[in-house]
């Protein structure tokens, strides 16, 4: 059986990735370039935040100190959030948001697939639903990356710029440490590095159709799993936590 602290850290990393990316996607609501995308992005945000809620709920039970989803989502300090840095990046333009979505979904698809066989039955149950939801996210983001990359000079240029900016953050998805090793040993989750071939294969197929050269990242950027965040995170949390900080304990 895994160490409870590692189990909790693992669940919070996963939940925080989903909460923060869900929050970023929700920022597009009312600002998307077309009505269909104005519906699509909040819908994907709902999937991600729904998955985060289930994960926080489970984290509360694993921790056993009575904390629930709202405590984890709203009442922690920046250093306590363990999401990867890619998901907290500002949305940038539509190409940037779609490419980030593709990176994350292409990683989560094999992750959730493996998690359906997790030795943690609650995680396996969450994965059973999420694995189908993420398949739609990969398709949606993939179609946009192809359309933009194989589109006009302007759209292809924006996609290339997004790729250059996001590439240094991809490695962090596959980072391994004591937490991931304990999860793998306990049969709770795969080592993220084991998912890289599947991730690369998904991207390679889409990038080829998008006529996008695979971006190089000589200097990977990481730190989120240890709670070290970029400047963007503080601004994001100010918005995300505003209601609970202004009206502590507010419920509806």
């Amino acid at each position: 059986m895994a160490d409870g602290a590692a189990h909790l850290a693992f669940l919070l990393r996963l939940a925080d990735d989903h909460l923060i990316l869900g929050h970023r996607l929700s920022e597009w609501c009312g600002h998307a370039p077309m009505l269909e995308e104005d519906l699509a992005m909040p819908n994907m945000a709902l999937d991600l935040i729904g998955q985060a809620r289930a994960l926080y709920d489970h984290a509360g039970l694993v921790e056993g100190k009575g904390r629930g989803e709202d405590d984890f989502a709203y009442l922690r300090r920046e250093r306590d959030y363990l999401n990867c840095l890619m998901v907290e990046r500002e949305n940038g333009d539509f190409a940037h948001t779609m490419l980030r979505q593709l990176y994350f979904a292409a990683f989560m698809q094999p992750f959730w697939q493996a998690m359906t066989a997790s030795s943690d039955p609650t995680l396996a149950a969450i994965a059973g639903k999420a694995v189908k939801e993420v398949a739609y996210h990969v398709r949606h983001a993939g179609e946009w990356v192809i359309r933009l990359g194989d589109g006009t000079e302007e759209s292809a240029g924006r996609l290339r710029a997004a790729a250059e900016e996001l590439a240094p953050y991809a490695d962090e998805l596959f980072e391994g440490d004591r937490v991931t090793a304990e999860m793998a040993a306990a049969g709770i989750a795969p080592e993220p590095s084991a998912l890289r071939p599947s991730f690369e294969a998904t991207l390679a197929g889409i990038f080829a159709e998008a006529r996008l050269a695979a971006p190089q990242a000589p200097f990977p950027i990481a730190g989120g799993r240890q709670g070290r965040h970029s400047e963007a995170m503080g601004h994001l949390l100010a918005e995300l936590q505003h209601m609970q900080l202004r009206y502590p304990g507010a419920v509806w």
Partner: protein
């Protein structure tokens, strides 16, 4: 205990009545479908005099989940039961659990029903023909992966030119 505050406690033979009360609750977003048509009502049991309904969400982030759970609890109370609703995540809901009756209701309501997926993710993305719920033509195009709710995609019929929702296969 005061009589006025005591709800009628039904005997064990009333499981069917409790199930019928819960099963008649309609989905707030697609009000032609009941929770039984959708297949999200997994079970109703009487446990120590309490009617316990178990429901499973359609999507992780479905915003109607809480409304549906409250409506089922209210329906059971209305039928004279002490009631509790539990959320059951596993096995994960699939559109294959929508009943034949439910599919016919969706079609009549103007939503193209989901095709049967089985268990394979690959089958979700096989080449599928989505027939227009208005004119029946299969000459249709997907406009957006995500429609008015997470469970629907937006299509357009090329023959009658009408847009329509398609209940996605999941």
């Amino acid at each position: 205990m005061s009589v006025a505050l005591t709800r009628e406690r039904p005997a064990g033979g009333d499981v069917a009545r409790a199930f019928a009360a819960a099963a008649a609750v309609v989905d707030p977003e697609i009000p032609v479908l009941t929770v039984a048509d959708l297949g999200i009502l997994r079970s109703v049991a009487l446990e120590d005099g309490v009617a316990v309904a178990r429901l499973t969400p359609t999507y992780s982030g479905c915003p109607a989940v809480l409304a549906i759970e409250l409506a089922v609890e209210a329906a059971l109370l209305e039928a004279g039961f002490a009631a509790r609703v539990e959320r059951q995540l596993s096995p994960a809901w699939t559109t294959d659990w929508i009943t034949e009756d439910g599919r016919a209701k969706l079609l009549a309501y103007g939503i193209a029903p989901p095709e049967k997926a089985g268990r394979s993710i690959r089958a979700l993305f096989g080449e599928i023909e989505v027939a227009c719920p208005r004119c029946g033509s299969t000459d249709t195009a997907r406009l957006s992966e995500f429609g008015s709710t997470a469970c629907k995609a937006l299509y357009r019929c090329r023959r009658c030119a009408e847009p329509f929702d398609h209940f996605k296969c999941i």
